[in-house]
């Protein structure tokens, strides 16, 4: 009975948190929901039996069912890793944890006005003003790619036509470029 009440309360709280806009609250909702699922597993194993479940260590009728506990152990690990990933999604990808659409999120609109497009950089893809650098490798001759575009053979007209194109002279851009490279090396 106490497990049933606990599962009900956890689920109700989880559903309430799912309905919130903030990503962190949704993540907390999932934490509660996975607790509820784990408790259902314990209930399935019948909590009245609490003996040590080794063969020969006691009466068979008193030994606990080890299977649900193994299930719960597995489920906890999986739920924990996904929770961590969701927390990462909540903090790294946008300027706030609002789950509203891109078009209507005021924070993103403000970020766009500022020209701040650093929102999307993670996992080997780093965007700085739209440039996505994928795992800087080497060119066909085996030399590493140059740090900055050399400028030779490039038509400057097209370069400027991209409103988000980085201006190499800006110290900010250089700093973030250096940061990117450092990140790429430590990864």
């Amino acid at each position: 009975m106490s497990i049933a009440i606990a599962v009900g309360l956890l689920t109700a709280a989880a559903v309430y948190l799912f309905m919130q806009r903030g990503m962190v609250r949704i993540v907390l909702g999932f934490v509660l929901a996975s607790h509820a699922a784990n408790l259902v597993f314990f209930a399935a194993g019948n909590t009245a039996y609490r003996g040590v479940p080794y063969i020969g260590s006691g009466e068979l009728g008193e030994q606990a069912d080890p299977l649900p506990q193994a299930f719960v152990l597995t489920a906890i690990v999986i739920a924990f890793s996904i929770t961590m990933f969701m927390v990462t999604l909540a903090i790294t990808t946008t300027t706030d944890d609002d789950t509203e659409d891109v078009e209507v999120s005021p924070a993103l609109l403000l970020a766009a006005d500022r020209g701040d497009t650093n929102d999307a950089g993670y996992f080997g893809l780093t965007t700085e003003s739209g440039d996505i650098v994928v795992d800087r490798g080497e060119d066909e001759t085996g030399d590493p790619w140059p740090e900055k575009p050399s400028g030779t053979g490039m038509a400057s007209g097209v370069e400027n036509s991209d409103p988000a194109a980085p201006s190499a002279a800006t110290p900010d851009a250089e700093a973030s470029q250096a940061e990117t490279t450092r990140e790429g090396e430590t990864r």
């Binding site: 999932f30 999604l89 996505i132 490798g137 575009p149 370069e159």
Partner: protein
Amino acid sequence: MTEILPPLLPLAVGVPLLLAALGVALRKKRLARHIISLGTLAALFVFAVLLVIATGDGTVLVHQVGLWDYGVSIPFVVDALSALVLMIMSVLAIASVLFAMATHEARARFFHPFVLVLMAGVSGALMTGDIFNLFVFIEVMLLPSYGLLAMMGAKLGAHGARIYVSVNLLASTLLLVGIALVYATAGTVNLAELHGAGKEDPAVALAGGVVLSAIAIKAAVVPVHGWLTRTYAMTSPAVTALFSGIHTKVAIYVIYRIYSLLFDGDERFLWVALVITSATMLIGVLGAVGEKTTRSILVFHMISQIGYILIGVGLFTLLGLTAAIFYLLHHMIVKASLFLSTGAIEETYGTGEIDKLGGMLKREPLIAVTFMVAALSLAGLPPFSGFVAKFAIIQATLAESHYWVAAVAVVVSVFTLLSMLKIWTGVFMGSEPDDLQERALTYQQRMHGKRYLRVQAQAETPTLTIGPPTATTSAVLAGKQAVKVPFKLIFPAILLAAITLFFGLGAELLMGWSETAAENLLNPMDYVRAVSGA
């Protein structure tokens, strides 16, 4: 061969996992990662072909992992259905990886390892004979998918990834509760031991219903389909193609497997499946009408096609199941081909919006032909595999006197054709927009940076592709030369389109395999006997 293969079954999970770890370790060796990834996927394909041959006569291959006795062990079981699905999925993975290598997405350090872990999860989910292990393998399959989606969707913002992770975690939690309830009511999670439990005991049937509902969310069945359209269009075409062929299709496989074993094809619940699948067909195809980009139209069609595939569950006759399995295999190939051919345009010209494209028939005749083949196959016109698939499905519904389901299927086909024509007229016919070239160049620059722009100075018509810059880059950047889709981007779509043509003309072959798989589903006693060793 039936003696050698079973002990090798766990390797289909273990080897990709191990090589994924190796791929992560080889951080500076991009070429090695490419080779490892493609090599593993090719080996998985060969293994799946061997399994298809070995299970072709209805044999069920079983390996009790760790050689524990039946009842204690967690078995790996392969019958014709799992072998066929694994075979097609490894083909799709190869095609998607080739596409991702062409777009340079595969250069990212974690791309190949993620794909390999994904395929390890797929092999496990298709082979496992234990419902809790099924949950674990589905999670193994999903975790790298979260990474892929977020990584490749970075340019489009995190919202797709957030919805995807949230919905899938919710479905997984529900699945976990369902499995707990199955264990509580039936006392086991071994699929062979669960055989028929849902038919005899209403409590187990209810628990199985929770499991099926959770899987239905993952399969994007109406009314729980909304997440699919909001996430699959939010990542790169290569990842969309990979996911389209794998995630929802593994869920469909699980629905078939559980309904065959746990419910033993119980006839009392069939009408529920028929109502849901009809709604899925209709709502999916109508949703596509309002969409503006090629990919979102295709994603809505995916939902509609999932309805077709699940008709087989609602009929649960030999003809119905055969047709549905044929449809499943055909659909995985055709859908991925469509995603890749429109994706090639999207990756080159920087947009998938129908209004902003046009005249591609003249500019990219090869893609146009590839798209046409796959689109006609999807709509169900001869001589492609789609015709055979749809014809068989409709025949099976008529044989069971479900005339309204057959009517819905026919009407939805017409709408599918109309939608494909919408993409065709919008993207391939008509006149080229003036800013097509400019947008393509801007996009290439944004995506790949100036370092990766290369001009192939071939004779008179140099074309611009992705790669290191050369002296003539400026000529193309100044807009004097034409942007063109490189062949390596078109090749994966052509490969899959060729397969649909092959299975259309040689439908006998695939139909025969599907029939074996359907017989296995219809007589789960073979499965139970093989696992229990009785």
